[in-house]
C-alpha cells in the first residue's frame, strides 16, 4: 500500500517556481514558449471518465490534435474536486467548494456522452455504453476512477453516516463530507473515542485518513475538549504511511500529540446500535467501542473495467487495476489503450497530483503514436500530499516510486516540517491549479 496522499504536485511546483521566478522572468519564459504544432489525424479517441484525468486529457488532446474525433463518457453530471473533501469534512469549507458541472470543463467539439461504459472490448476496440450505444475507437483512455466498496464493511450502509450515529463517510461525496463534519463537530463537543483508519486495498489519497485524524485532534485541543477525547488511528500495514521516512515523521507527530496508533488493523464490520467496530488483525478480530468513526471502505476498479480483460491478472486480483506500464502508462497488452489516474495499476499515485503528472505522459505517447513517432516522457511515480497536521499547518510531502522525497524547493520548503506556507498552498493555490489543469492549462 504505497500510493498515498492527496493533491497537486506539479501545481505546487509550477506555482511556486513561477512565483519565485518573478513576473519578469515568467514573462520572458512565456514569450519564448513555442506553441506545439497541431497533429493532423482522423483518429477516434474514446475517454472513459470525465473527472480530473478525463477532462484534462480531453482539453490537452483537443489542443494538440486537429481532426480527431474525441468521445468522453461520464454518467455523473457533477464534477467533484475531491481534494477538497477533507476540508469540507472538517468544517473548513462548504460543500459547494467541491462541486461544479462535469460539462463545464469539457472542450467544445468533442462528443460528451452522459453514460458509463457497460462493456469494454479491447480486442474489438469497442465500448458499449449503459444506454446500449456502441462506440468504436482507435485509441482508448481509461480514466474511470475507482469505486468505493461500502458493502465490504459488514453491518454498514451509507445511510447510517451522519451526526445521529457519529459516523463520517466523507469519501462518498460532498454531501457526505458535510454530514461527516456534523458528526465530527458533535464528537469534538461531547468527547469520547474517535476511530480513524484506512482500508487494506489501494486507495485514493492515502494521506487523507491521517489528515482527518490530525485535524480532529487539533480542533479538540483548540476547543478545550482534548481532555475528554481519545484518538485512535488504525493502519492497515505495519506503518502509518507507505514511504518510510514519512511514516516515521507521522509516528513522531502522533506520539507528540498522544494519538494512539495501531498497525495491521483493518475495519471489517460495524455495529451501529452497539457503536462498535470490528478490526481484522494478525492476532484475530478485535472489537472496540467508538463514539465517532471515519469509515473509508475498500476501493476497486469499476466492474466494467474488471470484466474487460484490461486488469492485471496476477496483481491486485481483488481490486482490478489496469495493467499499464508504470512509466509510459500505456497498457501492457493493448498498445492503443492508456490509463490516467486512480484506475492505473501502478505502485503509487492515486492522487490528483499524480493525475497532473500522468496527463503529459499519456498526451506525449498518444500524440507521438499518431504521428508515427515514439513518445519520450516517463512517469516516475510522482505523488504529493499536503499532509495537513493542524488547521493552518501542513507538510508538503512529495515522493516517487522509489520512496525518494522529491521536494519542489529543496532547502526552501522542507518536506517534513510543519509549515504555514504548505497549508497556504493547500488552501489557496491547489484548487486554482487543479482547475487550470482541468482546462489543460497547467
Amino acid at each position: 500500500m504505497y500510493d498515498i496522499s492527496t493533491l497537486k504536485g506539479t501545481d505546487r511546483r509550477t506555482f511556486f517556481k513561477l512565483a519565485a521566478a518573478g513576473g519578469a522572468a515568467a514573462l520572458a519564459m512565456g514569450a519564448g514558449q513555442a506553441q506545439a504544432q497541431r497533429q493532423r489525424t482522423n483518429a477516434r479517441i474514446v475517454i472513459l471518465g470525465a473527472g480530473a484525468g478525463g477532462a484534462a486529457i480531453a482539453n490537452r488532446l483537443t489542443e494538440r490534435l486537429d481532426g480527431a474525433r474525441i468521445t468522453i463518457l461520464d454518467p455523473r453530471a457533477e464534477h467533484w474536486y475531491q481534494p477538497g473533501f477533507t476540508l469540507v469534512a472538517t468544517g473548513l469549507k462548504p460543500a459547494g467548494y467541491t462541486v461544479s458541472g462535469t460539462g463545464d470543463w469539457l472542450p467544445r467539439g468533442i462528443d460528451y456522452v452522459a453514460e458509463a461504459a457497460a462493456e469494454i472490448d479491447p480486442e474489438a476496440n469497442r465500448i458499449t455504453t449503459t444506454g446500449g450505444r456502441r462506440i468504436d475507437y482507435d485509441f482508448l483512455i481509461v480514466a474511470t476512477g475507482l469505486v468505493l466498496d461500502w458493502d465490504a464493511i459488514e453491518g454498514f450502509s451509507l445511510d447510517m453516516a451522519g451526526p445521529e450515529n457519529g459516523i463520517s463517510a466523507h469519501y462518498a461525496g460532498p454531501e457526505h463530507s458535510v454530514k461527516g463534519w456534523q458528526a465530527l463537530d458533535r464528537f469534538l463537543d461531547q468527547g469520547g473515542v474517535g476511530m480513524f483508519g484506512r482500508p487494506a486495498t489501494e486507495m485514493k489519497c492515502a494521506g487523507a485518513p491521517v489528515k482527518l485524524c490530525l485535524l480532529a485532534e487539533d480542533m479538540a485541543t483548540t476547543r478545550g475538549t482534548r481532555g475528554k477525547t481519545q484518538f485512535i488511528y488504525n493502519a492497515q500495514a505495519p506503518n502509518l504511511f507507505g514511504v518510510p521516512v514519512i511514516h516515521h515523521r507521522v509516528r513522531q507527530i502522533m506520539d507528540e500529540r498522544d494519538i494512539t496508533y495501531r498497525y495491521r488493523h483493518v475495519l471489517k464490520a460495524i455495529d451501529v446500535g452497539a457503536k462498535t467496530a470490528t478490526y481484522e488483525t494478525p492476532d484475530g478480530d478485535v472489537t472496540d467501542r467508538w463514539d465517532f468513526i471515519n469509515v473509508i471502505p475498500p476501493q476497486r476498479a469499476p466492474q466494467a473495467v474488471r470484466d474487460s480483460g484490461l486488469s492485471w491478472a496476477e496483481r491486485w486480483v481483488d481490486q482490478g487495476w489496469i495493467e499499464v506500464d508504470m512509466h509510459t502508462l500505456r497498457h501492457a497488452r493493448y498498445a492503443n489503450v492508456f490509463g490516467i489516474g486512480d484506475i492505473n495499476g501502478v505502485p503509487k499515485g492515486k492522487t490528483a497530483a499524480s493525475v497532473k503528472w500522468h496527463i503529459p505522459v499519456v498526451e506525449d505517447h498518444l500524440v507521438a503514436q499518431i504521428a508515427g513517432r515514439e513518445g519520450t516522457t516517463s512517469y516516475n511515480g510522482y505523488t504529493s500530499c499536503p499532509l495537513i497536521t493542524r488547521v493552518g499547518r501542513a507538510m508538503l510531502v512529495e515522493f516517487d516510486y522509489e520512496d525518494n522525497l522529491l521536494p519542489s524547493f529543496p532547502g526552501i520548503i522542507a518536506p517534513l516540517e510543519e509549515l504555514w506556507i504548505s497549508w497556504l498552498m493547500k488552501e489557496v493555490a491547489l484548487k486554482a491549479t487543479y482547475n487550470a489543469m482541468l482546462r489543460g492549462r497547467a
Partner: protein, 119 residues
Amino acid sequence: MEEMTLGTLIAVFEEMFGRGLFWTMVGVAVVITLAYLYVLVRDRAMSMRKFLLAQLSMPVGAVAAVAFVMWMTNSSFANIGGPIDWIVLLGVAVLGAVGFAILVYVVQSLLRGRPDEAA
C-alpha cells in the same frame, strides 16, 4: 505542461480569484503604477513632504496586507512554523507597505496638484 510559463501562472491566478476579479486587480495595479509615474514626470521631482506621509503610512499597509491574508485563509500567527513562513509573512508585509505607500503618494499628488500650485 510541466514547465513554467506565463500562461500557467495567469491560468492559476484566474482560477484563484475568478477571471473578472483577477484582471480588475491587475488593472488597478497598472493604473496606480501609471499614475505614480505620471505624477513623477509631471512634478519632475519627488516631494519629500508627500514621501514622508507615504512612509508613515507604510506600517498601515503592512499590517493590512498581513491581516488580509490571515482573514482570507484559516490561519493565525501561531501557525508560523519555519524560516520560510517568516519570509513569506515579511514578504506580504513588504508588498502591502510598498503598495500602500505608492498609493498614498499618488493620491496626495493628484489631490493637491503640482508642488508649486500647492505651495
